[in-house]
Amino acid sequence: MPSLDRNLLHRFGILIVILLIGLGLSLTTDTFLSLSNLTNVARQVSINGILAIGVTFVLLTAGVDLSLGAVVALSGVACATFAHPGEHNVTLPIFIGLATGAACGLTNGILVTKGGVAPFIVTLGMMTVARGLALIASGGRPVADMSPSLTNLAGDIFGIPIPLLCFAGVALLAWIFLRDFRLGRYIYAVGGNENAARAAGISVTKVKLFAYTTCGILTGLAGVVLAARTTTGQPNAGIAYELDAIAAVVIGGTSLAGGVGTVTGTILGVLLIGEINNGLDLLSVSSYYQAVIKGVIIVGAVWLDRRQSRS
């Protein structure tokens, strides 16, 4: 348990930045600290959060997944296709969405492990393939007319957004898993030194397949949540989502070289990005400047964090 909790302190710098920006926003706007706005932020970060948790698994094995956004679209389309009112029980479309994501993730994993192709190429290929399949399956049109029982999943329960509950649940499970499960430990070992892990008797192939498939399932979940939230399966949804998700993970201290990183770090990364997006809108900063400011804050936050953790 210790090594992971230690890491929360390591990511202290990011926490400070989040709190400082929060303080700034609550001084300059009346709304930032309101309950309804914080609920908003929670709702908005959920999809990126689920994706970021998923891709944490892959990044820890020293891999990468560029297909997140496209698989979100494909799973959303798949889910929506089976979610027309009165046709099926609500569990079927959800299952289909998750299964689609899982299939894509598993395919990535097989190509990376058995095929020996670099994860960058495999998942870039999956990115175009999944996008193409989403367009083919939907005929290029959003799949609308989703049953309210499914779209309600983007609503609230006891005032808490359901997507947030999904994110929180996924994060909790991932946290426990990476901390306390053998397979979790093996993921770190494989990412830290693949050959040494193999020599210690770990089946690198199985570990990687697991990581990619888990990432796929969570991507599928994100696709289902997105479809529920937007009440459609959009074949061109999720463009560049992978960048936000990977950015959150790396901000949270996970190394792209593998073997180092934590779920708590990823959560902080997700919160920072969500806070910036929300704050810039609340302050009505013009679109052009939003981009510039967002880029500067993210790089600055990571820079501060690394300085602080070095000393």
């Binding site: 709304t31 908005q44 996008r131 290029g140 049109r141 939230r229 937007t230 009440t231 061109n236 609340l282």
Partner: protein, 304 residues
């Protein structure tokens, strides 16, 4: 492995071999993953199929003007008889038109103009779309009130022109205030988040939202409905995509602006064939935008 690669080709044998006297039309579509363009392109393809002795080759520029330019170059080397161009950009797609003209191949522009005039133009002026949408808002608010505007991807022709049209209306009604404006990159989920944030920041200060397309209008609509304040806000988009029309019919979305995808597509094919056969015809054919509200939505809904 060799077999696999070769097998890929057997499916599409000598598909591009020319038959005698056949008219070859090259068509470069702006972006087939955008619903409106997809609809337009489908109309072009379907309509061309009904014409005997015509073969149409469609390619997708995926919103990249340089890619589109390459595709026009490909058509030139394929010796197409006529080209239909659905330009990505006003400026950046201009060299594509020049290139075709220099090669002596007639070119029809559809839906979007470029700096250099083509041999024919079928379409509408996006400035009008912005104008119509904002006029509808002005009328609804009686020329007074706060408006939010959701942009498409910044710097794209449609975004620029729709904004320009809207700005004309703001200039006309000093009582209309642009409370805030921001891009959501044509994306529904982004527009939803943006509107959620705006509800926090500007609640009560706005009575209407103008989104540069229907996808984003639907996103704004969902956010307003979730917050339970849809009744306080008038929402309008552009394109008249299927889901928007349904929403107008159900009284959820207030209005959208119809652009005649099928009309434009068929018009483009007709113009192209005229040019290929060197027949005379109108050089420009403007198909006007039309405001769609609950009153006239029946005309636009797909016939069952």
């Amino acid at each position: 492995s060799l077999a696999v690669v070769l097998a890929l080709f057997t499916g599409c044998k000598k598909s591009s071999t020319r038959k005698e006297g056949e008219i070859l039309i090259g068509f470069s579509s702006r972006d087939l993953s955008a619903e409106y363009t997809a609809k337009l392109s489908e109309a072009v393809v379907d309509y061309a199929k009904t014409k005997p002795g015509v073969r149409l080759v469609m390619v997708d520029a995926q919103s990249d003007a340089q890619k589109q330019l390459s595709q026009i170059e490909n058509f030139i080397s394929q010796k197409a008889d006529v080209i239909i161009l659905n330009p990505c950009e006003l400026e950046a797609s201009t060299p594509a038109v020049d290139r075709a003209k220099a090669a002596g191949i007639p070119i029809v522009l559809v839906n979007q103009v470029t700096k250099s005039a083509g041999d024919a133009y079928i379409g509408s002026n996006d400035v009008d779309a912005g104008h119509i949408a904002m006029e509808a808002i002005a009328k609804q608010l009686s020329g007074k009130g706060g408006v939010l505007m959701i942009h498409g991807i910044m710097g794209t022709s449609a975004q620029l022109q729709r904004e320009a049209g809207a700005r004309e209306v703001f200039a006309k009604y000093p009582g209309l205030k642009l409370v805030d404006h921001q891009t959501a990159s044509w994306d529904r989920a982004k527009a939803m988040s943006l509107t959620e944030n705006w509800i926090q920041a500007h609640r009560g200060k706005f009575q209407a939202i103008f989104a540069h397309n229907d996808e984003m209008a639907m996103g704004a609509l969902l956010a307003l409905e979730r917050a339970g304040i849809k009744k306080e806000v008038y929402v309008i988009g552009i394109d008249a995509i299927a889901q928007a029309l349904t929403a107008v019919k159900e009284g959820r979305l207030d209005a959208t602006v119809f652009q005649d995808a099928v009309g434009q597509g068929q018009g483009a094919v007709d113009a192209a064939l005229r040019l290929a056969r060197k027949q005379p015809g109108a050089k420009e054919n403007y198909i006007p935008f039309r405001l769609v509200t609950r009153d006239n939505v029946g005309e636009f809904l797909p016939k069952k």
